[in-house]
């Protein structure tokens, strides 16, 4: 039982949705991300997603693209992110999920990254641009290392594909609220709710909604239909504008309407 599964189970028992926060590791520095991680834990984040910066973040909108560029400029690599996980784990039991594109993992070595991430204290990995149809090798490595594997489900996916996404996911399934890239938007897309319902008919694995959630009202709306809510760009933008700011306060504000 990973920390991610444990935490979702606890929240479900209380009748609450889990709050999942995304930040880009190394933005503005790995030292600052370590502090942010601890602040987020204290603010009641249930799962922390650490983004591994990549030169071509094709699923991300401008906010996370800029964060990725800042993190790369500060010298952040996958090896540095694994060391960050180790440092956070010495000081916190917050469930940790690495959020990466495939190529940095592939370059590092699939078996090696699974083993080292697990040893460092990570609980799962989400590989943004790895479809489950291509994931056999990765799933084997992740299962052997007891890492949860989270896959993205899109509102445009037909049932057969959702089945595949759901059956490959451990920890939770990430329901993408809309088509397109990550980023804030004014109104939470109405696409999200039917997708969550379809997924929940197929799997016992918790379903979290993400992409475009940036206000307490949107968090509450997502929490009403899903087991978890993911907020990324809104926090990353706050860190961009206030690199030393009270990011924990942002989380308390976002959670205030649940």
């Amino acid at each position: 039982m990973t920390r991610i599964r444990q935490r979702f189970a606890e929240r479900r028992q209380e009748g609450n949705a889990a709050f999942v926060a995304f930040v880009t590791a190394g933005d503005p520095s790995l030292d600052r991300t370590e502090e942010i991680a601890l602040e987020l834990d204290r603010a009641g984040v249930d799962v922390l997603e650490l983004g591994v910066p990549f030169s071509d973040p094709l699923a991300d909108g401008p906010v996370i693209q800029r964060a990725s560029e800042r993190a790369l400029r500060s010298g952040t690599s996958l090896a540095g992110v694994l060391e960050l996980v180790r440092r956070i784990r010495r000081r916190s039991e917050v469930p940790l999920l690495l959020f990466s594109y495939m190529n940095p993992l592939f370059r590092y070595g699939i078996e090696r990254v699974a083993t080292e991430a697990s040893d460092a204290g990570a609980d799962g990995v989400l590989v943004t641009d790895l479809p489950p149809e291509e994931a056999d090798g990765w799933l084997g490595a992740a299962r052997r290392a007891d890492l949860d594997t989270i896959f993205l489900a899109a509102p445009t996916s037909p049932d057969a594909r959702l089945q595949r996404v759901a059956s490959s996911s451990r920890g939770f399934v990430y329901a993408v609220s809309r088509t397109g890239v990550t980023g804030e938007q004014g109104v939470l897309s109405l696409d999200a709710s039917p997708l969550v319902c379809r997924l929940k008919k197929m799997t016992q694995v918790p379903v979290a909604i993400g992409f475009g959630i940036s206000t307490p009202e949107q968090v509450a709306a997502a929490a009403a239909v899903a087991d978890g809510v993911v907020v990324g760009s809104a926090l990353v933008r706050f860190i961009e504008e206030h690199p030393g700011g009270d990011v924990g306060g942002q989380v308390r504000w976002l959670k205030s309407a649940i």
């Binding site: 996958l78 940095p104 370059r107």
Partner: protein, 119 residues
């Protein structure tokens, strides 16, 4: 993939192929005077043909391609796309050694679109 580049294999835009990348798997910047060739990876069909030894791939630089572009325009009245001008440049370079052979050049596109770049 082939032995000549395990280190150079990567995943970008949904494809595993030969990729220009650094040690951490970040994609390196590229340059070509031809927009269609200004890409850090190789199409997966070409990677496969290369690995199976069916096709030999050669390099042509900007200056050689531009010279070939002008040569074809001035001698034949045909304006090749800058992408295709790379193939013309290779034929010019290798013509002497292919004297008794038949050469089939695939002029895959027209260069009207590139005149803005050249002007």
């Amino acid at each position: 993939m082939g032995d000549d580049g395990v280190k150079n294999i990567g995943v970008l835009h949904g494809t595993m192929t030969y990729l220009l990348q650094d040690e951490a798997g970040n994609v390196l910047p590229t340059h070509s005077v031809s927009a269609g060739l200004d890409y850090p990876a190789v199409g997966p069909e070409h990677a496969w043909l290369h690995d199976h030894g069916r096709v030999r791939y050669e390099c042509v630089g900007d200056q050689e391609a531009l010279a070939a572009f002008h040569l074809l325009a001035e001698t034949e009245g045909i304006i090749p796309a800058l992408e295709s001008a790379h193939a013309v440049a290779w034929v010019v370079r290798e013509a002497a050694s292919l004297r008794d052979k038949r050469i089939l050049l695939n002029l895959s596109g027209r260069g009207d679109k590139d005149l803005g770049i050249l002007g």
